[in-house]
C-alpha cells in the first residue's frame, strides 16, 4: 500500500510517498533530508506532535505563561494532555525550559515553560 504525506518537519513541506507493508514502512520517497524519512516512519507507525499551549499564573505580572511538551507526544493523547494543562497554575518565577508538569498524561514527557516568568 502507498500513502502520500506532507512532511511537517520544516517550512519546505515536502510531498512524501510511503510504501507500507503489514503496518510497517518499507520505503520512503520524495523527502529531501533524513528528517523527512524519520517523520514518514513515525507518522505511519506512531504519529506524534509537540503540544503547545498556555498555563494560567497566580500573582504574577504575566497572566499566561506559554508552555510546550519537551518532546512530541502521541497525537491521540493531545486532548487528555490539555485537560492537565487547563488545571495547573504556576505562581513562582520560571526560566525558559523549566518543568511545570513532569509527566503529562502518562506520556513520560514533561510540560515546560517557553517564556521566562519573573515577579517584576
Amino acid at each position: 500500500m502507498k500513502n502520500q504525506l506532507t512532511c511537517i518537519e520544516c517550512p519546505a513541506g515536502c510531498a512524501i510517498s510511503v510504501t507500507i507493508e503489514n503496518g510497517k514502512v518499507v520505503k520512503v520517497e520524495g523527502n529531501k533530508c533524513a528528517k523527512g524519512e524519520a517523520y514518514a516512519i513515525t507518522e505511519i507507525e506512531n504519529p506524534v506532535r509537540i503540544l503547545t499551549s498556555t498555563v494560567l499564573t497566580k500573582d504574577m505580572p504575566l497572566k499566561m505563561v506559554p508552555v510546550k511538551t519537551s518532546a512530541p507526544i502521541p497525537k491521540g493523547r493531545m486532548f487528555e494532555a490539555m485537560e492537565e494543562v487547563k488545571r495547573v497554575r504556576v505562581s513562582g518565577p520560571l526560566k525558559v525550559g523549566e518543568t511545570i508538569i513532569p509527566d503529562i498524561a502518562g506520556t513520560g514527557v514533561a510540560l515546560v515553560a517557553t517564556r521566562e516568568l519573573t515577579k517584576s
Binding site: 513541506g13 503547545t52 497572566k63 506559554p66
Partner: protein
Amino acid sequence: MVERDLVIVGGGPAGMAAAVSAYENGVKDILLLERDQHLGGILNQCIHPGFGIDYFNEILTGPEYADRFIKKTESIPQIDVSLQSFAVHLENDKTLTYIKPGKLEIVRPKTIIMATGCRERTREMIHIPGTRPSGVFPAGLAQKLINIEGLLPGKDAVIVGSGDIGLIMARRFLLEGARVKAVIEIQKETRGLKRNVVQCVEDFGTPLYYGHKVSDIYGKDRVEKIRVVKVDENFADVPGSEFEIECDTVLISVGLIPENELIEMAGVAVDKSTNSPVSEELNKTSIPGLFVCGNSYKVYDIVDSVSRDSVIAGRLAAEYLKGLK
C-alpha cells in the same frame, strides 16, 4: 532634544536583530523603542513550534525564539531599551517623537531603523457583506486574546482564509475546547505553509473548503451564522452552491500589510499596492540613513528570514554612520 547615533523603532525580532548587529558592527549608542511592556513583539503570542529551524538549526516556539534575542539585547549595555515607548511622528530629517507614560520625547538620530512590523488585513478589506455583530476577529487578535490575555473569544468558529495564523488558530481553538466548523479559502490552494494544513486542520478532521468564499455574515448582537458560496475561476459565485454554517465567531486570516505610516509621514516613497517602501536595495529607502527591516520592509513567511535580513539592516546603519565621520 536628545541626539543619538542610532534609533530603532520596534523591539520585535527585526528590531532586536538589527540592534545587536549594529552594535557588533561598531555602533555604540543605540536607543531601541518598544511600545509594549516587553521585548519580543508578535513572537510572544506565537506559542506554537516551528521557529528557528533555519537561524538556530533547532525547532523553537515563538517565545523561545524571542528569548534568545532578548537575552542578547539585554546583555549589551550600549543598547538602551525603552519600553512602553510609542513612536508618533517622524520628520524628513529623522527627528522622531515618541510618547512614554507621562512623557513626550523628541530624539534626533544620525541614522534610524524602522522595525515596526505589519498588521492584519481586515473583514472590511475583503468586503464581506452582512450585519456587523460582535464575534468577527482578525485571527492574530484572537491569538493574542487566547495566548496573552487568557480569554477564549468564541465557542463555534469559522476561519476565513487559510493564512498561517488562521490555520494555527484553528488548532488552538480546538485544543481549548471550542469547535471549528470550517476553514474557507477563496483560492484553489492554501496561502499558508503546507505543514500547517496537515497539523492544524487535517489532524483534527476540520473541513477545509478551497474555492469558496463567505458571502454573508448574519447576527444581531453576536454572529449567528455565515453563508458560504463556491466560486469559479474568475471568483464569481456559482449559482445554487450556497450553504450556511451556524457559528458565533468568524476569524479573518487574509494576509498582512507592512506598517509604514511613520516613514510615509517623513516623505519616504511607499508602494501603494504592497505598503512596502520603494527600495533599490534590501532595507534601504528613498531617504539616505533611514532603513526599514523585517515585516515592515516586506511580509516574510518565517521569522528566521526576518532575523537574517535585519542583521543586514544593522550593518547598513553602522556603515552609514562610518560614512558620516
